[in-house]
Amino acid sequence: MTRIDSAPVPASAATPALPPGFGVPARISRWLPGLAATCHHSEVFASSAEASGAGLALALALDALRAATPDPAADVPDERAWLWVQDKTALRLSGRPYRPGLPAALRHRLIHVAADKPEDALFALEEGLRCRDLAFVIGEIAGNPRALNFTASRRLSLAAEKHGVPLWLVRLDAKRDLGAARMRWDAAPAPSQPPRWNPQAPGAPSWAAGLFRAHTFQPGQWILRDDGLVPHGRPHGKLVADQVADASPDHGDLVRRAGDRPLAAG
């Protein structure tokens, strides 16, 4: 049930476990889950009245962490901290991170920065990107502050690429202004799939995500689902993308059915 629209490569070459830039042909033009580490600076535009922006950013970050090949010389798993920077408005509108609600793998590694002004938030983001001991950085900035112009955005992009620390910047209630981010997403909530045992309950989080500007990938619309993001989710959950085709309503599951899925997945 694997289908990639106008895929010039056999699907087996694009398994999510491959390291970025290795084994993935340069001609691939469709975004897939499991390839996210190729791009170090992404922006996610979302509304402040829901947590879908932060949720999608976290899901993409988790996806990149899962796709990264572990260091063969390391004898301990990667337990580096990650940074979550919020400015005051974002904090007031969309709330603070809540430790019991974070995925179990990330819960104990969070360092949170509550900045007063967007300038301070940008400073914290840049300092975080320069730190080699951070796994990734998530920023949340509300609106279109004057400090976050194209120059500031470009600085973040360069710092992220120079030091290899990926950044997902969530822009709450923001206009799509000029920015240097390599990938720009639009996040909106989507109705979740009913859980198997209680169809009346909300299920694993899902988003209607639109990639509207990207350097290396074609823009597109997806329904993304991550059943490993919620704290009670499956330990081996992964990001699953259903492409929303523009013309035909054919929803192809872009990820191969992995053989290592537990049976409870349904």
Partner: protein, 511 residues
């Protein structure tokens, strides 16, 4: 050698006043008092006060009845202890280490050091002379064991010297049993048994004493153990006082500086000196203090606290640079001093090899230091779990590099939202059926239609810390018709007698 400052508190007060014994303010009766639950009580009195009837331990009101003109000052036991500690360090001139014997004594180990002063008698005379010159009423004694020296200093003749060749038992036989450093109740017991002198104890069969005090484990309650310590047949460990010198570097400037770039240069030099000093000691600084002495006598102090021990000069300079922006040099700065009041062990690190140097970037501690210096310590924190049922109390914000405390595992079936609002926001609801889950709610001016829900999860108030009128909460995980997922709760139940109709709040936002 044992030194006993019998009137330490009074001597400290007198030295603070700057008057000789028996003159000036010391000529009038005076007492030092401490506040107790039953009113002020005298802790020490000067000679005039003792003559007029004030005794340590009496109530001030009783002493005033005897001597109405008795002057009082507050006692300072913490200051006395600090003074005793510094005195113990000073006393290390007579031996390699010294211990304090609270509240008013010192023990100095002079083993093998007496020949430097020309013999034990000369050393004892030197100690008595120097203590008297400091204005302290002190008695000193020397003996082969700490216990014997203590006994002679407190209860023997002044300046007593007991040399190795003498028989300790015979020499100390005339001293009272209080010379054994025993607790008050044991002394009372011994007095009731008719044992008043150390010689009396020596006349008793050892087995009888061991049987009588077999339940007393502590040395201060067991005369036999104290007797053995006094004779040196049982070792007596003492806790020595060790002086720690605060690392400090300073620059006196021939020409007062008034410009920032020069100050930065001086700071870089100081940071390099400090790094060398700390590296020699195997330490790293946690707190640094930069003092700037100006020509007009004013002192500016800038403090810095670091998340982890560090001594890298570049890092220190960078952190201080943000703190020096508001320095007003005035007529110039003539002395710059950098001190490290708080240091921690920091092992030498391997210098970066080529491969590591290419992967430049800061360490986590350096990154947190930079963030903390600009944004404040309150801004950079990490959540740690806390034992509480209430969602907003279940996490606590702590400094980012604090160790993670052990905590009980949470239940996996308790689904929690990704983000929590700082204050739960009230929502207006429209019920489908009264008492159940609402069909619609309005939050921040938008109407949400509840499509799917799970709940209620009832979280009762924590009765052990809240009032009995606090209402319970029924939490629901909901998803509205457009897919937005929230965590809402009903505050209270209809008819629970704790307020009117229950209200609804939105507390969390799920991804």
């Amino acid at each position: 050698m044992a030194i006993w400052c019998g009137a330490l508190a009074i001597d400290r007060w007198r030295l603070g006043e700057g008057c000789a014994p028996g003159e000036g303010a010391d000529a009038e009766p005076l007492a030092l008092i401490a506040d107790t639950a039953h009113g002020p009580r005298i802790t020490a009195a000067n000679r005039a006060g003792l003559e007029s009837g004030a005794r340590a331990g009496t109530m001030l009101a009783d002493a005033r009845a005897l001597c109405p003109q008795l002057a009082v000052r507050p006692a300072d036991p913490a200051g006395d202890l600090a003074f005793l500690e510094s005195l113990a360090l000073w006393a290390q001139r007579w031996g390699p280490w010294s211990a304090i014997d609270p509240p008013d004594g010192l023990l100095v180990d002079t083993t093998g050091a007496a020949h430097l002063f020309g013999g034990e008698a000369a050393m004892l005379a030197d100690a008595r002379h120097l203590l008297a010159r400091r204005g302290l009423a002190a008695r000193a004694a020397m003996a082969p064991t700490a216990g014997a020296a203590w006994a002679l200093a407190h209860h023997g003749p002044d300046g007593a010297l007991l040399v190795d060749s003498e028989d300790i038992t015979a020499r100390l036989a005339a001293l009272p049993v209080a010379a054994l450093r025993l607790d008050e109740d044991v002394l009372v017991l011994l007095r009731r048994l008719g044992l008043k002198r150390l010689g009396d104890l020596a006349g008793i069969d050892r087995d009888a004493l061991a049987r009588r005090f077999r339940t007393r484990r502590s040395p201060a309650a067991n005369p036999l153990m104290r007797l053995d310590q006094l004779l040196g047949s049982v070792p007596e460990p003492l806790l020595p006082v060790i002086g720690v010198v605060m690392p400090m570097v300073q620059r006196r400037l021939a020409e007062p500086i008034r410009h920032r770039d020069l100050l930065d240069r001086v700071l870089a030099d100081l940071a390099r000196d400090m790094a060398r000093l700390l590296e020699a000691q195997g330490q790293g600084a946690r707190r640094l203090e930069l003092g700037l002495w100006k020509v007009d006598g004013e002192v500016l102090v800038r403090r810095l606290e670091m998340a982890a021990a560090a001594r890298d000069p570049g890092h220190v300079c960078r952190l201080f640079a943000a703190r020096l922006d508001d320095v007003d040099a005035g007529f110039g700065i003539e002395l710059v001093r950098l001190r490290a009041p708080w240091t921690e062990p920091l092992v030498m690190a391997q210098a970066e090899l080529d491969a590591a140097a290419e992967r430049h970037g800061t360490s986590l501690a350096a990154c947190i230091d930079r963030l903390t210096v600009r944004l404040g310590a309150e801004a950079v924190r990490r959540p740690l779990p806390h034992a509480s049922h209430l969602p907003e109390r279940a996490q606590r914000w702590c400094p980012p590099l604090d160790p993670q405390p052990g905590a009980q595992e949470t239940f996996d079936f308790h689904a929690r939202p990704l983000k929590l609002l700082d204050r739960a926001e009230p929502i207006a609801v429209i019920y489908e059926a009264p008492g159940g889950l609402p069909r619609l709610f309005r939050w921040r001016g938008t109407i949400h239609e509840i499509a799917r829900a799970e709940g209620p999860e009832r979280i009762a108030p924590e009765w052990w810390r809240e009032k009995s009128t606090v209402r319970l909460r029924d939490y629901y995980r909901i998803e509205d018709s457009t897919g937005r997922r929230y965590w809402i709760y009903r505050h209270g139940l209809a008819g629970d007698g704790r307020g009117g109709a229950p209200e609804w709040f939105l507390q969390g936002l799920a991804p």
